[in-house]
């Protein structure tokens, strides 16, 4: 298989604190890989090493076949990078930002201008194209930021939390764009904190936790590990919560006595839900509320590591 990105035993520490503890990862050409993890897992550090912004302590990285440490300029010519913060020049217009970047990628001037116009159309920025970027909304800046990383039509794209902080509408728009990129055979590595996002976009998901990859596979493979759906039941006041938990008998993923909430992994099939209900009825325990929802990143982590993702330190 043709690998666009190859990571072998990658390590990195900051001030003697290990952030990446030996990561191995391959991304096939033309596919999209989601690096899923909470804050502080090492996602941004990984992207920064892959895009030659920082050097690894150990291991090897090949991007488009080029060694990221030995041939950084060849790597840079093969990639586009969109970081967590919209890195646009606030005092230039959207159009000027695009043309400037195109020329820094050494497109000829006519091509840079043509491509800039094309991207403004594709990213719904035609009207704003002539205004300085300082006047743009958050969503517009993000779109311009992504457009900037596409100016030279790089075969490989790194997107570091492309939708964090976006409103739902902008998030959907961003997803549509990313899906089109993959249809155009771009290789994409994106980082995200949202399982839903990884599920929607990625061919393959790698779960990063404390600097190591603790699980890897397709969205379905990961979900099979955690159950496709979450069934949550709230036990009515005055009924024995502990008895309810023991009746579920180990199928409960988590239980919260204060909220009187029990969470159960399920396929979502009606028969399974019926079974839980009748189980409670048999024990004379009343269910106050019942809900089904998709597993979250927390659920995946709970299953894989046995503890929640929250209360992690901030990403460096």
């Amino acid at each position: 298989m043709d690998k666009a990105i190859e990571i072998k035993n990658l390590t990195k520490s900051f001030k003697n604190v290990p952030v990446l503890k030996g990561i191995n990862l391959d991304v096939e050409r033309g596919t999209i890989l989601a690096l899923l993890g909470p804050n502080g897992a090492g996602k941004t550090t990984t992207v920064r090493i892959l895009s030659t912004l920082i050097q690894p302590d150990g291991g090897e990285v090949f991007i488009n076949g080029y060694n990221a440490v030995k041939n950084p300029n060849s790597v840079r010519a093969s990639i586009g990078l969109t970081g967590q913060y919209a890195a646009v020049d606030e005092y230039l217009s959207g159009y000027e930002n695009l043309v400037m970047l195109g020329r820094l990628y050494h497109l000829n001037y006519a091509d840079a201008k043509k491509r800039a116009t094309e991207l403004l159309e594709q990213f719904d920025l035609v009207e704003a194209g002539g205004r300085i970027a300082k006047t743009y909304s958050g969503g517009m800046r993000r779109r311009l930021d992504l457009a900037l990383s596409l100016i030279a039509t790089p075969p490989i794209l790194f997107l570091d939390e492309p939708t964090t902080g976006l409103d739902p509408r902008s998030r959907l728009a961003m997803w549509a764009i990313i899906e089109q990129l993959v249809q155009a055979k771009t290789t994409v590595l994106l980082t995200t904190q949202y399982l839903e996002e990884a599920d929607k976009l990625a061919n393959s998901i790698a779960v990063l936790h404390n600097g190591t990859i603790i699980a890897q596979g397709t969205a379905n493979e990961l979900k099979d590990k955690v159950g496709k759906e979450r069934l949550e039941i709230t036990i009515a006041e005055g009924h024995n919560f502990k008895q309810a938990v023991s009746a579920i008998n180990g199928q409960a993923i988590s239980s919260d006595e204060k909220k009187r909430l029990i969470s159960i992994a399920t396929s979502g099939a009606v028969s399974e839900i019926k079974r839980v209900i009748s189980l409670m009825e048999n024990h004379n325990i009343e269910i106050e509320a019942l809900s089904l929802h998709k597993p979250t990143l927390d659920d995946v982590f709970l299953n894989l590591t046995g503890h929640k993702t929250t209360k992690e330190s901030e990403e460096e």
Binding site: R48, S51, T52, L53, I54, N73, S74, R76, A77, I79, L81, G83, Y85, A86, A87, V88, D89, E90, Y91, L92, E96, M100, L101, G102, R103, L104, Y105, H106, L107, N108, D111, R115, E118, E121, Q122, F123, D124, I132, L148, A152, T153, P155, A176, I177, Q180, L181, Q183, A184, K185, T186, E316
Partner: protein, 272 residues
Amino acid sequence: MALSNYHSYKSADEHHSKLYWLVHDLSIFIGRSLKHIFKNTDQLLGLTIQPIMFMLLFRYVFGGAINTGPISYVNFLMAGILVQSVAFGALTTSLSVATDLQRGIIERFKSLPTISWGVLMGHVTADLVRNIIQAIIMISVGLLVGFHPTATLWQWVEITGIVLLFTFAISWVAAIMGLVAKTIEAVQWMGFFLVFPLTFASAAFAPTSSMASGLRIFAQNQPVTHVIEAIRALMIGTPVGNHAWLAVIWCLGIIIVSIPTAGYLFRRYSGR
């Protein structure tokens, strides 16, 4: 929305030499910073209003109280206020560098197959252009309020040369400050503590002979004074002494030290 034209643009890298691309990329970074002068309205206002305010403030408010002997105060003042505004103007370079770091655009430039340090060169070059504009405004206002230069055309060329050399030197120091400070707030206080004493404890606004001995020794021997006295000598014919060649040596020395330092800090910088 379709990305059908995707993958149809190729870099023209092979069509030109490395030197061509070096000049090409530098010109883009310089063009970027020059555009900032005119698109950043705060900067543009500071650039035009501030020199006029300072000129009038010193000429009319403080000028009467400062004894400059046989030389009229406005004639004495011109060289000093010109150099002071150059030094304060350099802080724009610090601010631009710190802003670029904070906004993450330097990260973006570093991920490109280009000479990303060109971004510093761009800001320094914009400083040269800004200072020429500012100097023209200042001298014009000076002429309106009684400034009588004796400089010949050739001496004006020399004055321009010294102003540009000093701008270039102090602007690289300012770039270093921007790289070290990293935030706009830090630039502001760093600038205050560095530029304030260097410009006010100098021969800019009052003769150094009137200062207390400790201050006088500092004021007479620091680079800003040499630059001011060299320009003053050319402008109104005061004795030049050792100031001219000391000014040039100081500026060249600062440039030789500060460019590699800025380059080192720029490469080493990794992340906000």
